[in-house]
């Protein structure tokens, strides 16, 4: 099956070369089905949700809420009410941090995260720690960058109220043992919030089996449109949580001095939501299901292994992170060359990679680098793309004579 043919953007040349897109960890490309679903929304039934009595309003609401059910099934949530649509992972995490974090933490409590967290799973917690007086504590990684249960056992104490960790690292591709971590933190009465931005696009997820309290991800990294994201939460936690945004559609009874909130999930979705985006996200989930999440996971695991082997033949290429138990991406540096120079050279050959600090400055520093290059893969990539990258890196060395 040729997956790439479902993605119109991939059929173009960039700088007179076939486009080879290896930056899906930043944002994935979109299949035609998603583009068409959004096009259809705007051309056939664009309308606001939850308020129109007219036909289009009903259709839009059905599609919007239908997408919520699709997301719920996609991660095996018990009810669609546990799915809150946000503008992305960042907004989802901010909601957890600001609402749950601020109202449940006090001085002496510990907030546990790793140094490998994306800035969006670090800075909100820094702020919450400053406001509540809770301590932001670091769960140390193993020397290869992976998160081990041994280190977690050492770091989790009876003071641990929130453990917020990545499922798959956006820099190292390492996979965290979420289910076991949830068990450990629940044993001390704490909760776990999981950054699934890199895992939701790649792995079948089961929030009940993982027993996570909060889990969040972005639609745009999983074939959906930008400006879409999801916060999943356990029902009792969400019900107790106060909204962070106030306005239309999140309220129940409104008087001049007071108002009451609607039930979950709507109390967290003030204002007109990103309806077209959510419709697109629903189409993205249909698309991913049609390919099969297990197939996608296996394809990417195989491609990552292939890349690790192929890149080992590029002289002076330093790969960060472990050789095993990693998924979907390879982060590296080529000799002493700056990753921006590498990225610019590869771009001239039509190859798109990410270069920089990947919104993870503390981790990049921990790795002893000032910046790195990253190639990330998705369902539409194949071995020929990796070969092109490998050859491109060899050409880069030659050009800069390193």
């Amino acid at each position: 099956m040729n997956i790439a043919q479902d993605f119109p953007i991939l059929y173009q040349t960039v700088n007179n070369c076939r486009l080879i897109y290896l930056d899906s960890a930043a944002t994935s490309q979109k299949p035609l089905a998603v583009i068409e679903a959004m096009n259809e929304f705007y051309s056939k039934y664009n309308s606001n949700v939850h308020r129109g009595i007219h036909t289009l309003g009903t259709l839009a609401t059905e599609k919007y809420e239908g997408a919520r059910s699709k997301v719920a099934k996609f991660i095996k949530a018990k009810t669609p009410a546990q799915i809150i649509f946000t503008s992305g992972s960042t907004a989802a995490l901010n909601l957890v941090a600001c609402s749950y974090g601020r109202n449940n933490l006090k001085p002496g409590d510990e907030l546990l995260i790793t140094i490998a967290e994306h800035h969006s799973n670090l800075i909100p917690w820094q702020q919450v720690a400053k406001i509540t007086g809770a301590t932001l504590k670091c769960l140390d990684l193993e020397t290869d960058g992976s998160l081990s249960l041994e280190k977690a056992r050492q770091a989790i104490t009876t003071q641990t109220k929130i453990l917020a960790v990545h499922h798959i690292s956006n820099v190292l591709g390492t996979i965290s043992p979420i289910k076991e971590l949830a068990h450990l933190v629940h044993a001390v009465g704490g909760i776990i919030a999981v950054d699934a931005a890199q895992s939701a696009p790649h792995l079948p997820l089961d929030v009940n089996d993982l027993d996570v309290d909060f889990l969040f991800f972005s639609g745009h990294k999983m074939c959906g449109p930008t400006g879409t994201g999801v916060l999943y939460g356990k029902k009792d936690l969400l019900e107790k949580m106060e909204p962070e945004h106030f306005g239309g559609e999140m309220n129940n009874l409104v008087e001049f001095h007071n108002a009451t909130w609607r039930e979950i999930p709507w109390k967290f979705e003030a204002g007109t939501p990103n309806i077209a985006g959510v419709v697109g996200l629903g189409a993205a989930i249909d698309y991913l299901n049609s390919v099969g999440m297990q197939n996608i996971a296996e394809h990417n695991a195989a491609l990552t292994d292939y890349a690790l082997d192929a890149l080992a033949h590029v002289p002076e290429l330093k790969i960060y992170g472990p050789q095993k138990n990693r998924h979907g991406l390879v982060t590296f540096n080529l000799g002493k060359l700056h990753p921006h120079d590498v990225a610019t050279f590869l771009d001239a050959e039509g190859i798109a990679i990410r270069a920089g600090q990947h919104c993870a400055q503390p981790l990049i520093k921990w790795l002893g680098a000032s910046s790195t290059a990253r190639a990330s893969f998705y369902l539409y990539n194949n071995e020929a793309d990796i070969e092109a990258l490998t050859q491109g890196l060899k050409n880069t060395r030659e050009y800069f004579s390193v």
């Binding site: 700088n15 060359l337 700056h338 990753p339 921006h340 120079d341 610019t344 050279f345 001239a348 270069a355 920089g356 600090q357 400055q361 990049i364 680098a369 000032s370 910046s371 050009y399 800069f400």
Partner: protein, 142 residues
């Protein structure tokens, strides 16, 4: 897109053999300039006496473009009156915004080679990084 427009020989020369790459001299001021997107961090050291840049050096990390630009910039402004150096800052900024400028004013032919960077929008910031640092040193925050 021809990548040779970006990596001109003279730029690669300044990258591989940077001029004035040295720590601060006694009595000099240091200005940090950084680009959080890529992690580039450059320190400009200026020894200023009687409204004149007596010495200009730099340290830090960056890509070929940002380091070559820092190398050229320190060469260009050494010995200049502060006012003249500031004029060069504005001249460079205009050049990097794609405007036609009189590059002879730089008194250094190689600086014109950085004009090629404007064809690579993602890299313009690399070229301007050191100059932004210089500007901060010449116009201290009030």
């Amino acid at each position: 897109m021809n990548i040779d427009n970006l990596y001109r020989q003279v730029i690669m020369d300044h990258y591989q053999h940077p001029r004035n790459q040295a720590g601060p001299a006694h009595g000099s001021i240091t200005i940090e300039t950084n680009n959080p997107n890529c992690g580039d961090r450059i320190f400009i050291h200026l020894l200023i006496k009687n409204d004149q840049i007596v010495d200009a050096t730099f340290t830090g990390e960056g890509c070929s473009i940002s380091l070559a630009s820092a190398s050229m910039m320190t060469e260009a402004v050494k010995g200049l009156a502060l006012k003249t150096a500031l004029e060069l800052v504005y001249l460079f900024s205009e050049m990097m915004q794609g405007e036609e400028v009189d590059t002879n004013k730089f008194n250094m032919d190689c600086i014109e080679s950085l004009k090629g960077v404007t064809k690579f929008p993602a890299r313009i910031r690399c070229a301007t990084l050191a100059w932004e640092g210089l500007k901060k040193g010449l116009i201290p925050p009030s």
